[in-house]
């Protein structure tokens, strides 16, 4: 009982500290280039505003129309793009995990030549910046449309419509490659261990050993590195939303660049689901490892 409460308080402390960190980053990026005497007071001022904005969350307002000065409550405006972007983020995350697992399964089972081809292909794909990838995909889609008149995926979001397939696809390419490399590396590390050899000696098939035994241990590596993957996905989606003209969370953030407290609040809201996932993953890893928490 004492231990759990200790653990919870530790997580809460970490949570609060990260929020303080986010506040500090936003405040300093807004006040760094003010005239010399005003920097520190402005920083302090911003931090205070951030602190109080938690208590007046319902009163936060966003300027919607500059000419007519229309203010709209913050939480009503953010809700739609927030849900939209988070859907894409998690869909991309799940997609990249599934694809990476499948890919590493295929690579593990495949003959040497195929292994080599997959590896060199991924090595090349690793060197393609996301911006270039999006541009290339768009050019390809346009070209296809011009040639055949078939629009597989609408490459640019319209005024009202929401695109899902293309952003999820683009966002998940780079994380998939990274995840695949991680998984494949740890599969190779597990493969030389004794329990695998024993299982093989018992006559279990290669894929049975992989699925039933190795993957269980690989999950630990996978889950401990999710933070990195989330980070990549977030910064990718930021670019993708801008380029595909999507009305998601990040374009909302981009529009409200000049109101620090809205900016800060949105970032905190982005952080919350990822923090919860992180805690859950840590718990699962500890359970898998057999460490009693």
């Amino acid at each position: 009982m004492i231990q759990t409460s200790k653990l919870i308080s530790k997580h809460i402390l970490q949570f609060l500290l990260t929020i303080v960190g986010i506040g500090f980053i936003t405040a300093s990026s807004f006040s760094l280039f003010l005239p010399k005497g005003e920097r520190l007071p402005e920083l302090w001022n911003q931090l205070q505003i951030f602190f109080w904005s938690f208590f007046y969350f319902k009163d936060l307002e966003v300027l919607m129309n500059v000419q007519e000065l229309v203010y709209v409550p913050f939480y009503t405006v953010l809700k739609d793009p927030y849900v939209y972007s988070l859907t894409i983020l998690f869909a991309a995350f799940i997609c990249s995990i599934i694809v990476a697992l499948l890919l590493s399964y295929i690579t593990y089972m495949a003959p040497k030549l195929v292994k080599k081809i997959i590896h060199s292909l991924l090595f090349f794909l690793q060197s393609v910046p996301d911006v270039v990838m999006i541009a290339g995909l768009q050019i390809f889609l346009f070209w296809l449309f011009n040639k055949t008149g078939v629009m597989i995926i609408d490459p640019v979001a319209g005024l009202e419509s929401k695109v899902y397939v293309l952003p999820i696809f683009v966002v998940s390419i780079i994380p998939t490659i990274q995840l695949f490399q991680m998984i494949y590396l740890s599969i190779n590390e597990e493969e030389i261990k004794e329990y695998v050899e024993y299982a093989k000696a018992k006559g279990l098939s290669k894929s049975w050993v992989l699925v039933r035994h190795i993957l269980r241990n690989v999950t630990i590596t996978l889950l401990t590195n999710t933070k990195l993957i989330f980070w990549v996905i977030i910064s990718n989606l930021f670019i993708v939303e801008f380029l595909l003209n999507m009305k998601g969370y990040f374009s909302f953030l981009f529009k409200n660049m000049n109101s620090p407290e809205i900016f800060f609040m949105s970032l905190v809201l982005l952080f919350i689901p990822f923090f919860i996932l992180d805690v859950i993953f840590k718990y699962i890893v500890n359970r898998l490892r057999g460490v009693s928490v």
Binding site: G21, F30, L32, S127, Q138, I234, S235, F238
Partner: protein, 347 residues
């Protein structure tokens, strides 16, 4: 021969990078003045006009010509030195400070870590572009006072946003390294933290500096493309006008990221304007990736292949006949050897 094969990725990678930079310098100092600008109108063999600026790629213009009548290929070559230089400089600053702070961070206790690491975590959730954006805009609007100062500030900025995370990673590695047994024995003998840093931690990190440096260079190149999309260019900005009076911000230095970013909406009109710098980016990052691969291979020295374990001992004793005892006379010395080896293991 085996050595050469090991160094092959590094050699090819550095050859591409050095070649690009050298070609870029040769262009600015020697070739630039000899090249004629592309003609305003293009005629076919019959003398009929077939087009004006915005030529698609052809043999004379491998990457095409943009709508302002500039040859994209030579722009890319010209921009190579700036792009690569920016990436290298930023990477150097990042690695130097990251290692400096990382070494100290590695020695801090658990309580310190519990307070600082969530704070650093915040940097992971705010994309770098977002942090940089307001500052870059402010710098770009206040341009003209001192260009070198602006460029310096921009470079420092994109270096420092990555340092907290880098410090964290290096610090964690140092912490892991400090768990080694020989550190403990060194401490028992009476080594202080400063001594450990100098004699153990720094030599351990020294092998990794190059790897970190290349990794950071690749990351900076990625970051540059992202910044370019948001029209945040390092260096001066020129506004060029196309005939309809529509101004467009361009980088003065033909830096690749800026070339992609400022022309992004040309995508459906004449895509070759961004394909050229994109290819350049891919080639450069690929070269750096090759170098990275080579360094990783050398550091790991390839895990011991299983082939060595299955060692056919028969051929070791070719001089003996089939039914001789191999170690008959050396029983005693063998025991000695075993003792020695166990001593070595338990060190």
């Amino acid at each position: 021969m085996k050595n050469l094969k090991q160094y092959l990725p590094i050699l090819i990678g550095s050859f591409i990078i050095i070649g690009l930079v050298a070609f870029s310098f040769i262009y600015t100092y020697f070739i630039k003045d000899t090249i004629k600008p592309p003609p305003t109108f293009l005629y076919n063999d019959d003398g009929k006009m077939i087009g004006t600026y915005g030529y698609p790629p052809s043999l004379t213009y491998p990457f095409g010509v943009d709508r302002l009548g500039r040859d994209v290929f030579w722009m890319v070559i010209d921009g190579a030195k700036y792009t690569i230089a920016i990436a290298l400089v930023v990477a150097v600053i990042r690695v130097v400070f990251g290692i400096l702070f990382g070494i100290f961070y590695g020695f801090t206790g658990k309580k310190f870590e519990m307070i600082v690491s969530p704070f650093i975590n915040a940097f992971r959730f705010v994309p770098a572009v977002i942090i940089v954006f307001p500052i870059f805009q402010m710098l770009q609007s206040g341009l003209g006072e001192n260009q070198y100062k602006t460029i310096g500030l921009q470079i420092l900025l994109i270096s420092f946003i990555a340092i907290p995370i880098l410090t964290n990673t290096i610090g964690d590695e140092v912490k892991e390294f400090l768990k080694n047994d020989f550190i403990l024995s060194s401490k028992v003998i009476g080594a202080g933290n400063m001594w450990l840093r100098r004699k153990h931690v720094f030599p351990f990190l020294r092998t990794r500096i190059l790897l970190l440096f290349v990794q950071q260079t690749i990351q900076v190149l990625f970051l540059l493309t992202q910044l370019g999309v948001f029209r945040l260019f390092i260096g001066g900005v020129v506004t060029l006008f196309i005939d309809d009076g529509d101004g467009r911000d361009m980088s003065k230095a033909n830096e690749w990221a800026a070339m992609i970013g400022s022309n992004f909406f040309e995508l459906s009109i004449d895509p070759w304007v961004i394909i050229g710098p994109s290819i350049a980016f891919i080639v450069t990052i690929f070269a750096f990736n090759l170098i990275k691969l080579g360094i990783e291979r050398i550091i790991q020295k390839q895990p011991v292949p299983t082939k060595q374990l299955i060692h056919d001992t028969v051929h070791d004793f070719d001089s003996l006949s089939d039914f001789d005892f191999v170690n008959k006379t050396e029983v005693k010395t063998d025991l000695m050897k075993e003792e020695q080896s166990s001593y070595v293991l338990s060190k």
